[in-house]
Structure formats: structure tokens, C-alpha cells
Amino acid sequence: MKNPIRTGLLALPLVGSLSAPAIAQEAMSLDDKVNEAFANATGPFVNLIFAPFPGTDFPWIVMWLVVAATVFTLYFAFVQFRFFGHAIALVKGDYSDPNDAGEVSHFQALATALSGTVGLGNIAGVAVAVGIGGPGATFWMILAGLLGMASKFTECTLGVKYRNEYPDGTVSGGPMYYMSKGFGELGLPGGKILAILFSIFCILGALGGGNMFQANQAHAQISGIVGDYPGWITGLVFAGVVFMVIVGGVKSIARVTEKIVPFMGILYVGAALIIILVNYDKIGWAFGQIFQGAFTGLGVAGGMVGALIQGFKRAAFSNEAGVGSAAIAHSAVRTKEPITEGFVSLLEPLIDTVVICTMTALVITISGQLIIDPATGLYVLDGNQISTVDGNSGVALTSAAFGSAIGWFPYVLALAVVLFAFSTMISWSYYGLKAWTYLFGEGKTTELVFKLIFCVFIVIGAAASLGPVIDFSDAAIFAMAVVNIFALYFLMKVVRKELASYSARLASGEIRKFVS
């Protein structure tokens, strides 16, 4: 839920099925008019970002993210595998100076960034991928997740290296800072322009995908359980709570959420593991389906390429590697070595995509929700979707898969979705704010203006039917990736220098563990 992106695809079916037409006919037509006008105005931009390669339905933006991840993986010689153990040691605090106790730890920076990415994408997005691309999509999703680790490593190292540290002890970091400062340092032109472009897209993405879409989905979940009621009520409640946290400084609410969200994540993975273990006799078969499906498609629309597109798309949409948002979240860590945060951040796509998304895919496959033709062993298609037992797709498919093994789990899932929506809003309110203050300057009044706008958009997001707006905000978030990755190609040599220097000092024993 967290992430807007991942959910773009699910938005329409989910919202469509759950938000009944309780709104008056006249209001609907007004909404329709607004939506139409908005769609016409933003359509070209959305179409450009999500345009497929000619003759395929493979969006070029997904290729842009996957190619970048591959380039970074090769350029840094598989840093995600070579330094994996070191990343774990850093998160454990083995290399943390005890005298720095009380500062932001590597674990905290990772947990904060993760709570901004783990969410509906992992729950519902995967169901969309598996529902269209079959279990084989999981293979490509894992591959893209593994490659994405290198993108995160690159952007988060730069995020810490070029952050601003103010005299009062606070920090601001993120792509806008490494674009302007990094390009300046290398004597390259255009850094400032890239930073401004990135900030604009980041604000739009934060208000759209990081806010309106979340509110919309949360309302859809709640009304799906308690029955239909006007969305603005959900919107006002959410806006009120978010207002208390980001304007009122009521940290206790955020703290409670920040504690419940990881708990929900663990509960989710735990439930998935239990279902998988109970069906241990099917594990071999499920992996067989994943590998076989990855290269043959097992009858899905588009065959092997269809599975590949869905897997790549979902991984890219889920872990945000290359989008630049994580660089904002990670830049607060206290470390003398920026690259250490890069190592830690590469665990993020691993946890988000390789572990959590794979769990969802395995549960859906094992649960038998996807219908197989016993005669051919291929999946039965309904349009371009694989037929499911109850005709479910998206979050409903995940819910049905878990529900088939643990009857009450769908309620827990709904609660998780709502909480994830809330913590995503908190995360993105911060990302948006950083972009806002980059453009308009730091200051209490400037910040308050953005925070108030953010709260207003929550109400709008929950109340309206926002198909085109969601398309636009998803497009804005991917536009962040266009600008960000473009800058990363120029700045990656800075990271390579850091990596060489750090590796040498690690090998020589100059950098060593503080624990015995």
C-alpha cells in the first residue's frame, strides 16, 4: 500500500468493485466531468511515461528501470552479492561506534525506508502479476528484485554523500541534493534543472500516489467490510490523524503505526510460511510451476514474454529501486561512510520483492486459486487473465488464497492494507515535503503550506473516483525515475570511487567491527 506505484494497475478493478455508486447521480456526472477534463489534460504525459515499445505491451519505463538495475549490477561487479554479509553486519550494528548511540542507526534508516515501500504492492500487486503472467512471473520478479538491489545501493550512497546538514543538526537529503551538488562537483551542467524537475515530479507523486491513491484504497477496504458509506468521512478521519502527526507533531500516533506496520509485515510473512509449510508436499510442484512458467508461460497470455513482462513490471513497481524516494529516506542515517547506507539499502528490494512478494506468489500458486486444465496442464484463460476459483483478481485473489487456508486472515489483511496506507502517507508526506522545501526553501510557513495541502488531498482522494488522477500520479512517480536514473548514470563513478576506497580499508582492517 505503501507504494503508490505498485498499485496503479489494481486501482481500477479494486476501486470499481468496492466503491459502490452510492454517490448521487448528479455528483457522479460532475466527478465524471472533472475526471474527463483531468484525463485530457494529463493524458499525453501519462501515455508518454507508460508507452509500450512498438508492437508489444512492454512499457518502456519498466525497461528503463530494469536496464539501469542491470548496468549498476555489472558496473559495481555484483555488489549486492559481494557485500550482502557486510550489509547484514552493518544493520546489526557491528560497525556502529558506541559513542554514536542515540543517533539514527542503520537499522532505523532501513526500517523507515521499508515502511515506505512494503505495502499493497506486495499483497495485491503480486496477485495481478501472477493472475496475468502465471507463477512464472515470480521468477522474473525475483530476478528484477535482485538486480534492483544495485540501483538502491547507488542512489542511497549518493543520498547520504550529498545531503545537507544544517547548523541546527537536522539533515535533508535525496536526489535533488545529489543532482545539484554532485553535478556541480563533477563540473557537469544541468544538475540544478534535473533537481527542480525531480522535485516537481516528487511533489506530484507524493500528493497523488503517496496520498490520494492510498486514501482511496483504504476507503475501499473499509467500506468493503463495514458496508458502503461516503468516502469523505474516511478522508476526514485520515486527514485528521495525518494532520495530528505531521502538523501537530503527535509523534505517538506515528510511533504506534511504525510499530504495528512491521508487526503486520511479520504476521503476513508468518502466515504465508505456515500455509506453505502445511502444504509442504506442494512446494516442489509450486517451484516447478514457477520455473516452467518462466520459460514456457504454461499457457498464459503472451507466453514466456507475458510472464516476463508481468514479473519485471511488478518488481519495478513494488520496490521503487531507481525512483529516488529511498534516497530521501536513507539519507538521515548517522555515518562517516556514506557507502555503508548504500550497502544497507540494498537489503530493501531483497526483503520487499524477493522475500515478501515471493511469499504472496507461492501462497497464491499453492492455494490452487488459479485454474489448471487437467488434460493439458496449462492454465485456463479468461480473456488475458488466468481463471480463478471465484473469479477474483488483485487484492481479492490474495485474500482468497490466504482465506482458503486461514479463514479469518482476510480481516487481518484488510487491517494491514489500511495501516500500510496510513504509514505510506506519512512517508510520502515527508518525501513531498523535502522536494517542496528544496524548491521553496526551508521554513516553518513554507512547510506548513505543503502539509495543509497534503491533508486536503487526503479528503479529495478518499471522496472522489480518481482513475485518471491515479494514472497521473503513478506517471509522476515514474517520471521521478526517468530523471533520477539519468542523473545516476553520471554520478555512478563517484560511488565506484567510494566503493574502491571503502573495500580497501575494510580489507586492510582499518574499518573494523566495534563488537568483539
Binding site: A101, G102, F107, Q108, T112, S115, A254, E258, Y430
Partner: protein, 145 residues
């Protein structure tokens, strides 16, 4: 050889009792140095919002200076005015672990703390700071009732 005593403060009356006891003990010993310590309970594994992370360094400095001003400095002054030698330390971390770490760094001979009246459920299950300190310390610990 100078004897070094670590006194754990908690900003409450229990800390005062530990301080009184430490001063009396120091007078009996004679050649003695006191180190008063205040630990700000903090875990590197807690969860925070992005905004809290961004402000963390600033908050940490504020927490340290507040603890120094309000708790440690008055205690050091009180000890010094009684003719004893004292220094103060403020640190973030787990109370028991940090007290033990400081005792090791300072090559102290003993840790003195007072039992606080911790009665919460988690304290009953996992043990309070005092109980943890007693269980884990590798040097003598005096617990003042």
C-alpha cells in the same frame, strides 16, 4: 590506588539514594573517585518516521545537554561540594549494557544503583534495568533499596 565507583542516576529519588550511599561509601574508602552516569534509554532497533530520523541528531544533542544540565551537573556539584572528586557521563542506550560498558571503559571497581519501583508488565516479564544489570555485570554491583 584510587577506587572508582560508578553511580547510576535516574533523575528520580531512587537515583538520589544511590548518590547518598555512594558518597558515604567514598568517605569510608578515602581515596575514591565517583563517576555519576545518566543513561537515556534508547534502542537502535526502534522504529521511527522519516521526519524523526531527519531530526534525530538535533534531538540527541538536546537530550544530552538537558540530562547534563538537570541531572548530572547538579549531582557532580553536590559531590564536589562535599569534598569528593566526581565526573559525569551521559549516554544513550540500554541502561544495564551502557552502565557495564562505562564501568569497563573507566576501569571502575563497583557500580552503585538504587532499585526503582518498576512494576509494569514488561518489566515483570523481562526484568527491570536493575535486575538485568545484576545478572550481566562482571564487576560488583550494589543495589540500594
Amino acid at each position: 590506588m584510587t577506587t572508582k565507583l560508578i553511580i547510576g542516576l535516574d533523575g528520580l529519588s531512587s537515583g538520589e539514594r544511590a548518590l547518598d550511599y555512594g558518597c558515604n561509601l567514598a568517605r569510608l574508602i578515602g581515596d575514591c573517585e565517583l563517576v555519576v552516569v545518566y543513561i537515556i534509554e534508547w534502542s537502535p532497533y526502534s522504529f521511527q518516521t522519516p521526519e524523526e530520523n531527519a531530526e534525530r541528531h538535533k534531538r540527541r544533542e538536546e537530550e544530552i545537554s538537558t540530562a547534563k544540565e538537570r541531572i548530572v551537573a547538579p549531582a557532580v556539584e553536590r559531590i564536589s561540594s562535599g569534598g569528593l572528586s566526581a565526573t559525569g557521563v551521559v549516554r544513550h542506550g540500554n541502561v544495564a549494557d551502557a552502565l557495564i560498558a562505562i564501568a569497563k571503559e573507566q576501569k571502575a571497581d563497583q557500580i552503585i544503583v538504587a532499585r526503582s519501583r518498576e512494576r509494569s508488565l514488561s518489566k515483570r516479564i523481562f526484568g527491570g534495568s536493575t535486575a538485568n544489570l545484576v545478572m550481566e555485570a562482571s564487576l560488583p554491583v550494589t543495589v540500594v533499596g
